[in-house]
Every structure is written in C-alpha cells, then in structure tokens.
Amino acid sequence: MKDIAHHLLDIAQNSVSAGANIITIKITVSPKSKSAGKQDLIIEEKVSDTLTCEIIDNGRGMDQEFCKKVLDPFETTRETRDVGLGIPLLKQSCELAGGKLSINSVPYEGTTVKAEFEIDHIDRIPLGDVAGTVKMLIIANPEITWNIKFSSPEKEFGLNTCEIKHYLEDIPLNNYDVLVWIEQKINEGIREVFGGVLNEIS
C-alpha cells in the first residue's frame, strides 16, 4: 500500500464485515517514551515520535485463538479464496517503519487494530488522503456511525457522523454536498492537528 489512508480503508472494511455499527478511526501522534539505560552516553540520540493509527469497532470480535492466527496471510474469513493480505500488509508497513501492529479483540464486543509507526523513519509511508478514505467509507456505509479522531500533543480534532446526521435530519449522509463538506472538514482537522508535526503535512 502506498500510504496509511489506503491501509485504513482496507482495515475499516474488516470492521464493516464484522457487523459493526460504530467504527472509530483514531490517529495520534505521541512523543516516544524515553527508553531506559544508555544515560552515560554522551551521544544524544534523536528520539522519534510515534504515529499511532487505531481502528476500533463494535463488531462481533474474534476469539483469542483466531486473533493470534489473523496475522497469517493464509487465515481469512473470506470465501472467494484462502488468502487474506490486509492485516499482514499493514503489519509489514508498520515493521518496516520501526513500529508494530497489535490486535485486541473480545468476542461479541469488538476489535481494535492498532498500527504504530516511527514518524521519522525513512521507510514510513505517508499519511495519505485520510479524508478521501472516510468519504469512500461513508458512501458505501452511510448507516454506520463513523467517529474520526486526530490528536497530537497540542491539538485535537473530532468528527462524528451521528452528530452530522442530527443537523441533516432527513437528508442522507451520502448526499454529495454533505460528503464534500465532511471531506473538507477532515482535511482542515488534519492540517490543524498534524501540520508541522508530520512532515508531509504543511
């Protein structure tokens, strides 16, 4: 995948297939916790901040056994073929950028997929068009409540499609003007929260 937004589009669809009706996409930039030791070294090590992307759903979840197996590309619930690459590809993108992927799932309660990247790692893929991703997800699944959250050490942004529906009343969420509004709103949020924090966003 070329960027993180493509991964999010892919992984969020797992949540949709798991029957979730509330899906949260959360992107956080947090300073890396200082690693212990090496204090007597004079060389100052540049510590990279961490970019964390989480997809949290209230779908049917997975039992512990399946949760462990899900990182294996040959483990999938889909019926067209026996290979599923969504999660393994995201894991690869994380690990190439000094991060990791973790999945936490409780049967009948939901699943959280958490992808971490080292922001300044040379191989970290860019954030990409997150607003466009959310737009696509809403077009395809307007009935789901999408919760978008961005945060950096200093700023925060949130958007919830349930609140937007409240203002729209009888107009569907996938009305194109509404979608464009949402897309622009999210882009503003990204610039506000991650501008200057992620070097691909000015």
């Binding site: 995948m1 493509h6 589009l9 892919d10 669809q13 297939s17 889909r78 067209t80 073929r81 599923g84 690459l85 969504g86 590809l89 068009d129 466009g132 991703t133 737009k135 696509m136 077009i139 395809a140 937007i164 203002y167 729209l168 009343e169 009888d170 107009i171 009305n175 194109y176 003007d177 509404v178 979608l179 509004w181 622009q184 709103k185 503003e188």
Partner: protein, 122 residues
C-alpha cells in the same frame, strides 16, 4: 472553517432537489474494494464514479463497494448492474475510465465495450 451553518444550507438545498422521492430501481455501480482493489487504485476509481454522478446530477445510479471479486490481476474492477439486473464487469479501471463509463454507460446506456472483462480477456 467548515461550519454547522454550511451543513444547514446544504440541507435546505438538498430538500429542494428531492422533490419527488424516487423509489424506482436504480443502476448500481459496485467497486471491488478489497486489499487487491485498493492496492491497484480502486479508491480513486470509486471517487471518480461518485464525483461524476454528482457533477452530472444523476439520481438513478448509486455507488457502493464490495469485497474481492476474485480476479485480482484485473483490478480495479467495477460492476455496473442495470435496473433489469444485467451486469457489466469493467476491469483495469482508472479515474478517467470511470468518468467515461458514467458518460457512456449510465447516461447514454451504451456500455464501454473496450473496458469490459470480455475484451480484456481476449
């Protein structure tokens, strides 16, 4: 800044546009959006479909996404399913091709034969 006032204005505008609630059957455009499709560029294809339908004010067609259609090497794939249930499968798409399909297939009801799976597999 995007404001709630704008949303209200959009609502007013949309209310005027939906004069008669159309419950007629619609043409469905289904874009394959599994890992294979996304990696091949299905996102921009789907965006182009949605954008073009909105730009041309087409109300008798909807866009949605589906999982893997099963022929990943031909992604991005989209299926156009007519009101009569007839299905046309388009393969190896990009945004430009998607716009052409809207113009020719959805508006003028003439499938773009050169983009169909039958042509690609010859």
């Amino acid at each position: 800044m995007k404001s709630v006032e704008e949303l209200k204005a959009i609502r007013e505008k949309a209310l005027k546009e939906i004069s008669i609630r159309d419950n007629e059957n619609k043409i469905r455009i289904v874009v394959g959006m599994a890992t294979c499709g996304i990696a091949a560029g299905a996102k921009s294809v789907m965006n182009a479909f949605a954008e073009e339908l909105a730009k041309r004010n087409i109300n008798n067609a909807t866009v949605s996404m589906t999982g893997c259609i099963g022929i990943c090497r031909l992604e991005p794939i989209a299926e156009v399913i007519g009101v009569d249930g007839e299905k046309t499968t388009y393969v190896k798409l990009d945004a430009e091709k998607a716009r052409r399909i809207v113009a020719e297939h959805i508006v003028n009801q003439k499938p773009v034969v050169e983009y169909t799976i039958g042509e690609a597999e010859k």
